[in-house]
Symmetry: C2
Subunit: 108 residues, 2 copies
Amino acid sequence: MPATAHKKLAHSAKWFHALADETRLQIIDCLTDGEQCVCDLTEKLAAAQSRLSFHLKTLKDAGLVKDRRDGRWIYYSLNGEALEQLSELVADLKGQSRKGPSLSPCCK
Amino acid sequence: MPATAHKKLAHSAKWFHALADETRLQIIDCLTDGEQCVCDLTEKLAAAQSRLSFHLKTLKDAGLVKDRRDGRWIYYSLNGEALEQLSELVADLKGQSRKGPSLSPCCK
DNA sequence: AAATTACATCAACGAATATTGATTAGTCAA
DNA sequence: TTGACTAATCAATATTCGTTGATGTAATTT
């Protein structure tokens, strides 16, 4: 089993897992308007701070969002590169783009 | 809170959840080669039958795959329409396609 | 009808996740 | 330094998820 294929597989699953939550999808949607600090999001989403902090960490660990500290604020924003790669991945899943290597070693 | 937006949100999360598993991603990758029965997949993925049946149900419930019975075999295949919609959804997440309604009612 | 094949479902267990409230860690201004 | 403010982390709890092995079901063959 090719280690590279397995890594891509694991990474893909991680991305999708990060997106598999309504709160996190709302966060991402908010971030399409531009970078926001946590306090912005707590207002807009009417969610507890610790909860959003948790979900932001999940998104950040997955590489989907970036953060930037400015004084006492930490601004979160979308990671455009990762979302672009995600877009290509979904195209692969459709089987329409057969350029990249297969995710699964058994279905070459 | 618009019920439609919330439904779209929940549906999106369901899609991503279905994709947030390595076994299920492998299944989808296999299915890009065309429809397969469960026994095909147990061979190719070297996984227990009950395990694949569980994951196939998850994918089917999410609407990402379809099944078709032919005698004692049940053939699974990708649902191209759903994958197309998923593709558009990811474009929305990138914020590049601002045609569709926002996922989150608070970030209009 | 009985046996076989292909697949679904169930029960049970451990592992991972999400939520809440409280605490801790930085940052800044007075 | 004190206090106010932003955000991360911790502890405790409840829920969800994935796997396995056993059982159930439907279609086919003998």
